[in-house]
């Protein structure tokens, strides 16, 4: 098979798998549970809007430093962890892998197709909930163009986060039989702790690059006390952050494809 044919086969496989799993993922009860979980920030946005009536200047700070904590350090991590590890693990646990790997599909195509389907589902859940909470909180200035640009930036940060975390968890799922626990330790242990380390240390976490891309920064010496998200952040430049996140996504996804192609997955009796 020539390189051109291989690429065509990979592309066809990925698109077919994408379409199949996007439908399967959408119908899953677990997707509904995670989508409902995403409504929590929306409810909180309503509460903030009511409580902070007339304190418009604080709303942006509250959004970045409170609601974005929920989105960035909890919601997308949990979503990516579940869907990312599912890409391989659900086929093994459910013993449905033979249906996939005995079809004329390339194995990298299966991984990338499922990754794309689940990433899109997650991105939709995140974007819808982000949009609702963001515009509810900023409902008093819907006429400002900058509002929409900022929203796009928030959505972009979360989208990049979904891609990078999911790629990491797909890789874990391809390597390990029980990736979920290692993933939990990474997502809620390593990522939670290392981001507050000074200097270059924090650059060993994905969340560092995501936080570096956030549009809002509290004024230095400001009176905001809700700075958990940006606490001790020594930001990397946006270009480097985007490149790093893209490279992490691409490399981990490629590794996951390579492992999935080479490894035999046996069902536990």
């Amino acid at each position: 098979m020539t390189a051109k044919q291989s690429i065509a086969a990979f592309g066809a496989s990925a698109s077919q798998v994408f379409a199949f799993y996007f439908i399967l993922g959408r119908k899953s009860a677990k997707t509904r549970v995670f989508a409902l979980l995403g409504l929590v920030p929306v409810v909180l946005a309503v509460v903030v809007r009511i409580v902070m009536r007339g304190r418009a200047e604080d709303v942006m700070a509250v959004f970045t430093e409170i609601l974005m904590v929920l989105f960035l350090q909890f919601y997308i991590v949990i979503l990516s962890l579940f869907f990312g590890t599912s890409i391989v693990a659900e086929e093994i646990e459910g013993r449905t892998l033979p249906y996939l790997i005995t079809r004329p599909l390339t194995k990298p195509g299966i991984i990338v197709g499922k990754f794309g389907a689940y990433a899109l589902l997650m991105a939709l859940m995140v974007t819808v909930n982000l949009a609702l909470s963001y515009f509810i909180m900023n409902g008093y200035r819907l006429g400002e163009a900058s509002l929409y640009l900022t929203f796009l930036r928030y959505a972009g940060v979360l989208g990049l986060g979904v891609l990078a975390y999911t790629a990491f968890f797909v890789f874990l799922g391809a390597v390990l039989k029980r990736a979920i626990l290692v993933g939990l330790v990474f997502g809620f242990g390593w990522e939670n702790v290392i981001q507050y380390f000074p200097g270059s240390t924090q650059k060993f976490s994905l969340v560092h690059y995501l936080k570096s891309l956030l549009p809002y920064r509290p004024a230095p010496g400001g009176k905001s006390t809700l700075s958990l998200l940006l606490f001790r952040l020594e930001p990397t430049t946006p270009a480097v952050s985007i490149l790093t996140l893209a490279a992490v996504t691409a490399v981990l996804l490629a590794l996951a494809c390579w492992i999935f192609r080479a490894k035999e997955y046996l069902f536990e009796e």
């Binding site: 509250v62 904590v69 909890f74 949990i78 693990a89 029980r178 939990l184 330790v185 809700l226």
Partner: protein, 291 residues
């Protein structure tokens, strides 16, 4: 003479069924054994004793402060061992994280795997009642919670006395062993209901593992957010770790971390257990109804 039944090859069993005092024990034993069969569980289990070793080192240093003056100048207060030291060990976030980690390994599949393999009917086809089944499963949780809380807690107390070379500390705080056991018991009861509730909500133990972590830490994040908005101490009631810390401080007779009566946290945890009990009772059925 007519042949006896035995002579024909049959033998009536003349014994009496043994009334097992602990019919749940085989379930517990199996649950513990299954947990230890998981390779990475052993690592997580060993890790859960790390805080105990750190606190043990602290105890040693507190008795040998003169040897460590250069390191701890002006930090005498830190190593002044009081019941607060034991409370900090049992209620600190890292121990909670490790307990949740160990239980996610050992407990997520307790009911979920039985539901997945439709094996509840196998349990209930034996002389086993629902309460025996639940007790067996809860005892697995109890085993792991007690072994990483009560056991190190009491051992730390023992080492404190050994390092000090006197019983003065014990005589000063004779109720401390009871506090350690009381808080460990509270953690046990709460986590037993918590884990069994989540494990009974799905057939997929991977999903349950996520639920175990998600619920625990989400409640804490939610508390942080709500407190950030409203600045009301009582909002700590939505957080599982905060309620555990509040009740822990109360049981050790220490200053409460949140400005509301500890009884509120006791009530919240009791209510959570009661609701969990109701849901578990509904979910555990010997016959699976296919919709």
């Amino acid at each position: 003479m007519a042949a006896t039944v035995r002579a024909k090859g049959y033998a009536h069993w003349d014994g009496r069924p043994v009334d097992r005092r602990f019919p749940w024990w085989p379930i517990t034993r199996m649950g513990i054994q299954l947990a230890f069969r998981k390779k990475r569980f052993k690592l997580a289990f060993a890790m859960s004793f790390a805080p105990a070793f750190v606190f043990l080192a602290g105890l040693y240093i507190s008795e040998r402060l003169e040897d460590f003056q250069a390191f701890f100048r002006g930090s005498d207060r830190l190593l002044n061992i009081t019941p607060d030291y034991f409370k900090i060990y049992l209620t600190n976030d890292s121990l909670h994280f490790l307990i949740v980690l160990v239980l996610a390994f050992a407990g997520a599949g307790l009911v979920a795997d039985d539901l997945k393999h439709n094996s509840l009917q196998l349990y209930f086809a034996r002389p086993l009642r629902k309460k025996d089944y639940l007790l067996g499963k809860m005892s697995v949780v109890a085993f792991f919670v007690l072994i990483v809380t009560a056991l190190p807690g009491l051992v730390l107390l023992l080492f404190k006395l050994v390092f000090a070379g006197s019983f003065k500390f014990f005589l000063d705080y004779p109720w401390l062993p009871l506090s350690i056991l009381g808080y460990a018991a509270l953690l046990t009861v709460f986590f037993a209901f918590y884990i069994l509730l989540l494990s009974s909500l799905s057939k997929n133990s991977r999903y349950v593992t996520i639920l175990v972590f998600m619920t625990f830490f989400f409640s804490s994040i939610l508390h942080g957010i709500l407190y950030g908005i409203f600045r009301l101490p009582a909002l700590a009631l939505v957080s599982i770790p905060a309620n555990l810390q509040q009740t822990g401080a109360s049981l050790f007779g220490q200053k409460l971390p949140h400005a509301f009566p500890a009884v509120w946290s006791f009530l919240v945890l009791a209510a959570a257990c009661a609701v969990s009990g109701l849901v578990i009772n509904r979910k555990i059925r010997s016959v699976e109804v296919v919709k």
